[in-house]
Every structure is written in structure tokens, then in C-alpha cells.
Amino acid sequence: MWKYRLGAIGLIILAVLVGYFVYSTELGDSKHAFKLGLDLRSGSHLVYRADTASLDSADVEGAMTSLREVIERRVNLFGVSEPIVQVEQGGVLGGGENRLIVELPGVTDLNEATALIGATPLLEFKLVRPEMEKLSDEELKTKTLGEVFVSTELTGRFLQEAQLQFDSNTTGEAAVLIDFNKEGSDLFAKITKENVGHVLAIFLDGVPISSPVIRQEITGGSAVISGGFTPTEARDLVRNLNYGALPVAISLISTQTVGATLGDQATDAGVKAGIWSLIIIAAFLVLWYRLPGLLASIALVAYVALNLAIFKLIPVTLTAAGIAGFILSLGMAVDANILIFERMKEELRKGRVLHDAMREGFARAWLSIRDSNISSILTAIILFYFATTPIVRGFALVFIIGVGTSMFTAITFSRTLLYAMQMKEGKIGRFLFGSGVLNAASDYSTKR
């Protein structure tokens, strides 16, 4: 008995400490403060489709990684706090599309956001198809860019640095000198070596801006873009290229913006709903199951503290749907307790003493609890993997954590508390372990 009492005291102290951690990390600036999703604090969520059709499948991953890095740099430069930039595969159902997801907390002006990302230049080097070189200029005009040019592997991905340059010998025209990194230099050397005498066009944002003819192999790893720029245009291009050039073209396919008002309202409402459901469930448990109900309510409070601490430590980005998942899990977490208590009552009715009834209750309800939680977890995992929206994914993650934690609090925690209550056999003990609002006579099973 003392073993359980010590255990119970230990668990309660632990729960209080966890609760204090949750509370204290909300005061001031803590790195463990709750991470709120965009729908709770305002911001923009943008989904871009990356045009990787022209790439070798082996190069796609590298291109997407460098795409992410470029956009990340750009977004950071803009001073957005905690932006998220991530690559996502559309999967078979999404036609195998490669996507880039950009989340900009606090940025609610969608135009500002898309302009910021849209200003990233797309730099490509393309060769003219051999059969096209024979055509006259008039004939070329009837062809599309795709028919005339063929992509090379060389893109803005391999750019190291861009500089502004003025053509010294002739017109003094502004031009942009670009240096490739090692990999880019090798590629550039290879392409120029194999295509001496041919045109290697430089494309900026999908438009050919200069079409120099390769005279010899270039090994130095630098090229000049001279496209009749004004000095200002050239300066902007140099700046934009230095922040990073896109390796592949991107187009916006989905946006979501939440203003600050709505975000704050949703957070307040979510917290209120959570507190109320906790109060109502605890009140119900105490009124209906009496002493075990009270202990289950304490276990439920510990469940809340533990879950919130896990959300902070992982950390889980909370969304409105995530909060909904958490509130739903509050209601379902006590299922284990209810199964145990109902079983306990049955054992009591069969004439067992309190102590044995408790043990039997826990032992016999276990299989049912296990099955229920397994089916919930499997459902949540499927939801997580097939989630198309961050909303559904947020729900699924919170739900998985909730089901897992509830196994601990509703079983181990409440069992330890219950065993710690040494209950003498007798009227009071029987009453405290009975159920129903008035007395045992209001029990469903005795109505027969």
C-alpha cells in the first residue's frame, strides 16, 4: 500500500512540475512557448508548383533543395520571423508534382508576400537545337521558344556570385558578370567544349536575354550576360541574383491568408472551449463515478499538462484543427477510465471485495482499451499521411499524441491513485465506489 502511496505522490509532484513547465514557458520569451499555426496568429501559407518536367529525375531532388535554400534566403532577408520553407512531393495522386510550401507568419498582405518570392530571378542556359540553327530569322519567328531551345543542366542553382560590369571598349553598356561554383564551372566547361560554334542562350525568367555564340571552351567558370540593360536594371539583377537564382520555374497554386483579428479570436475561442470541456467532463466524472471519478479527473488534468508539455517539446505547431483534436481527445481519454470503472462495479456486484474488484476492473478492461486505442492510432496515422491540408495533418498529429498519452494517464496514473486510496470495506467505501447521481439504485444495470 505504501508503495502505491509513494508512487501516487511522486506522480502528482511530477504532474505539477510538468504543469509548471507549461505555465512558466508561456511567460516572457521562452523557446518553449507554444508554436501557433498561421490560422491562430495571422500570416500567409503559399503553395508553389515547381516545374521540374525538363529535368532528369536524378536531378530533381538537388534542384528542389537548392530551390528551397534560395527562397529561404530571400524570405529571411525580408525579415519575416520564423518562416517555414519546405519541399513537398505531390505523390502519385498529385501527378508526382514537386511543390514548395512557404509559410510567412505575420505577413497578411498576400501581394507583398508573392512579390517578395516572385522577385527571385530564374536563370537558365539553353542551347539552340541543331536543326533550328539552319533556319533563317523569319522562319525562327514562327517557332516557339520550346521548339528552338533545349535546356541544359546549367541553371541559377550553380551560381556563386554576380557582379555589375560596364563594357569598357565600346558603348559602356551595363552587363552582369556571373561566376559559377565548382560544379557549375565544370558543367559550363563541358557544355562550351561540346558546342563550340553554337549558340548558348541565357534565359532570365523564361525569356532569352542574350544569345552569344560559343567561340571556345570556357574553363574559368564565369559568363557575362549583356542584354541591353539600363544601369539600374543591371544593378537590380545583380542584387537579385546574389540573393539566389531559381533553379526551376515556380507557379503559385494555392494561398491561404489569415488576418490577425481572426487568428486571435480563434486562439481565445479554442482555449475557452478546452477549459470548458475539461470542467464539464471532470464534473460529470465526479458526479457519476464519485471517488474514482475524482481520481480520473485528476488524471485528466495531468493528461492535459503532459500533452501540452509534449506539444511544446516536439514542438507541434498548433492550429484550430489541432486544438479541436486535443479537445476531442479529452473526451475520448476518459473512455479507458469509464471502461475500468464499469468493470469494477460489475465485479463489486458479483460480490468481490473492493480491492479485488479494482484489480479485476483494470485487468479485464485492458484488452478493450488496447483495441480501441490501436484503431484510433491507425486511423490517425492514415489521416496524417493522406492529409492534403496542413489543417488535417495538425489534427492527426495532436490526435496521435493524445491517444498515446491517454494510455499512460488513464491507466497507470489513475490506477496508482486508486490503489493508494486504502478503502475499508463498508458502506462509505461502497458508496464512494458506486455510481449514479443518487445511489446504486440508479445504476443502469440494476433497472432490469
Binding site: N111, Q256, A266, T267, K272, L285, G331, I338, S375, L383
Partner: protein, 314 residues
């Protein structure tokens, strides 16, 4: 006992609800949200309450945004609107916002803007269907697992011919699941037609959670029935099947109702005081949880008795 013997009443109630749900689905279908069909949704609120739906329609019509819908959000002090259009590009969006400011005479705050490309919508439909199929598969496997121990006919019923073999438990569990999913879907079809409530990815999520919740409810009752059948056989008892099912339902009804109640308390708190974004989600779940609890007590177990009766008549 009374629950089982009055089973005709429960069948009729469920029958009416199912027919109504199916009818609503066939006649009105579902009102798909932009998650699924693509498009844009914009919520704006003005600093005063002098703007009407007609005003909004008037400024938006010349913009050629295709067919759009304007729905007022209820709030006495400010005019607020939810505007649904085809998928808006960046520039369309700016043009629309400019128009909504009535040439700068009104100040509109954009609470949210959501835009989904049509391809992304198709993908969401595909993924949702896959998720549903997989969850159903898991549940069928779960049923098979839960009933794996019953290979012999469960109830020789003291020499009479009536038998309920284990696969029938499975079939009934699945019938109960269909019941539990059809009813919330029917309600949302009705709400979609009358209130413009949309079905989105969260609705599908709610359905899947309901599936997991209600199958478990049903299995707890069936487990108890089998436990009693075993005990009865060991004691060479000759209790009628109907009585055994009745006892089992009586014993588990407390647990079923109480679990559903605590879950419903949480969901109702979420519906009435929670964020608007998850209000319909809470509603779908509440309806599903109620239907799930109802079906495990009033449909699934009585159906076992009905099946056994059919078996013994033949």
C-alpha cells in the same frame, strides 16, 4: 431486454433517418468546399455596418470573377462578408480588394483569403478517397482480428437450428458503420442545400474519426455477447439467444453512453465556444458519435437477434 424486444421501433427510426439521408444525398448531393473543387474564399469585415450584400454584388459584378456568392457574417456593428469566387490570381485578388474598398470610401479588413487551384482540389478528393478506403480496410482487418477466435458457429442454441456464425458479426458491424457515416453525410447534404454548409477535408476527417469510434463501440458489445455465450455453454445453460444479447447490451450500455457523453461534452464545448473554423467539424463529429452510439446499442445487437431468428426459421 426491453431494448432488444422493441427492436422494430429502433429499426424504423434508423430506417427513416437512412432514407432521408440517402434522399438528401441523391437530390441535393454534397456542397463541396474549395478544398475539393478549387476556388477562392475571402472574408472581409468593414469598420461600420453600412455595406449590404447588394452593394458587394454591385462592385464585384463588373470584375468578371465568374459566378460568385456573397454571404453576410452576422455581427450588428460591422458589415462582414464571406465571398466565394473562382480561383483568383494575385492580380485578380488585388482588383477585388480595391473594388471592395468602394474607391477608398470604406475600410475593409481582409480576415482571411484562401485560394486553391483546381488540380490541388482533385488531389484532395483522391487522397480523401484513399484515406477512407484505407481506414475501412484497417477496420475490416480489425473486425477480423477481433473475431478471429470464433471459428465454430457461436451458438448451437440448445439444439435448435438458429446460428450466428462469426462472419455475421462482421457484416453487422459494417452495416452499423455505414449507418453511422451515412447519417452525418445526409445531415451535411441537407445543411449544404439549406445553409450553404460546405463539405471539406475536415469533414472527411470527422467521418474517419467516427468510423474508428463507432466500430469500437460495436465491438465492445459484441465481445460481451460472446463472453456470455461462452459462459452459457460452459454452464450447459439453455438461455435463449435473445436474452443473452439483452443482458450483454444492458451491461455495456453504461459504458457506451458515458463514453459518448464525455466525448459529446467536449464536442459541444467546441461547437458552441470553440473557433468558427472547427464548428462544422465539431457538428459532424457530434452527429457521428450520437449515430455511432445509437447504432451499437439499438441496431447492431438487435440485428444479431434478427439474424438468428431468420436462421432458425429456415
Amino acid at each position: 431486454m426491453s431494448i432488444i424486444s422493441r427492436r422494430k421501433i429502433w429499426y424504423i427510426i434508423s430506417g427513416i433517418l437512412l432514407v432521408a439521408s440517402l434522399g438528401s444525398l441523391l437530390v441535393w448531393g454534397l456542397n463541396l468546399g474549395i478544398d475539393f473543387k478549387g476556388g477562392s474564399i475571402m472574408e472581409v469585415v468593414y469598420t461600420d455596418n453600412t455595406v449590404s450584400v447588394v452593394d458587394i454584388e454591385q462592385v464585384l459584378t463588373p470584375l468578371e470573377l465568374g459566378s460568385f456568392s456573397v454571404r453576410p457574417t452576422v455581427d450588428g456593428e460591422h458589415s462582414g462578408f464571406i465571398i466565394r469566387t473562382r480561383e483568383l490570381s494575385d492580380s485578380d485578388h488585388v482588383i477585388a480588394l480595391t473594388a471592395l474598398s468602394f474607391e477608398g470610401t470604406k475600410t475593409a479588413e481582409e480576415l482571411r483569403f484562401n485560394s486553391v487551384g483546381p488540380l490541388l482540389g482533385k488531389e484532395a478528393i483522391g487522397k480523401s478517397l484513399w484515406a477512407i478506403v484505407l481506414v475501412l480496410l484497417v477496420i475490416i482487418l480489425f473486425i477480423a482480428f477481433a473475431f478471429r477466435k470464433v471459428s465454430e458457429p457461436v451458438r448451437p442454441n440448445g439444439g435448435s437450428v438458429g446460428r450466428v456464425s462469426s462472419w455475421k458479426y462482421g457484416i453487422i458491424a459494417i452495416i452499423a458503420l455505414i449507418h453511422d457515416v451515412l447519417i452525418p453525410t445526409g445531415v451535411f447534404s441537407y445543411l449544404g442545400h439549406t445553409q450553404g454548409v460546405e463539405v471539406d477535408t475536415l469533414f472527411v476527417t470527422a467521418l474517419l474519426v467516427v468510423l474508428g469510434f463507432s466500430i469500437h463501440d460495436t465491438i465492445v458489445v459484441f465481445d460481451r455477447i460472446r463472453e456470455h455465450l461462452r459462459l452459457d455453454k460452459e454452464n450447459h445453460g439453455k438461455k435463449p439467444f435473445e436474452e443473452i444479447v439483452g443482458e450483454s447490451v444492458d451491461e455495456t450500455i453504461g459504458r457506451s453512453i458515458n463514453t459518448s457523453l464525455t466525448t459529446l461534452f467536449a464536442l459541444l464545448a467546441l461547437y458552441f465556444i470553440g473557433p468558427t473554423a472547427t464548428q462544422m467539424f465539431a457538428l459532424a463529429l457530434s452527429i457521428g458519435v450520437i449515430a455511432g452510439t445509437y447504432s451499437s446499442i439499438f441496431i447492431a445487437s438487435p440485428l444479431l437477434v434478427t439474424m438468428e431468428k431468420w436462421g432458425s426459421k429456415r
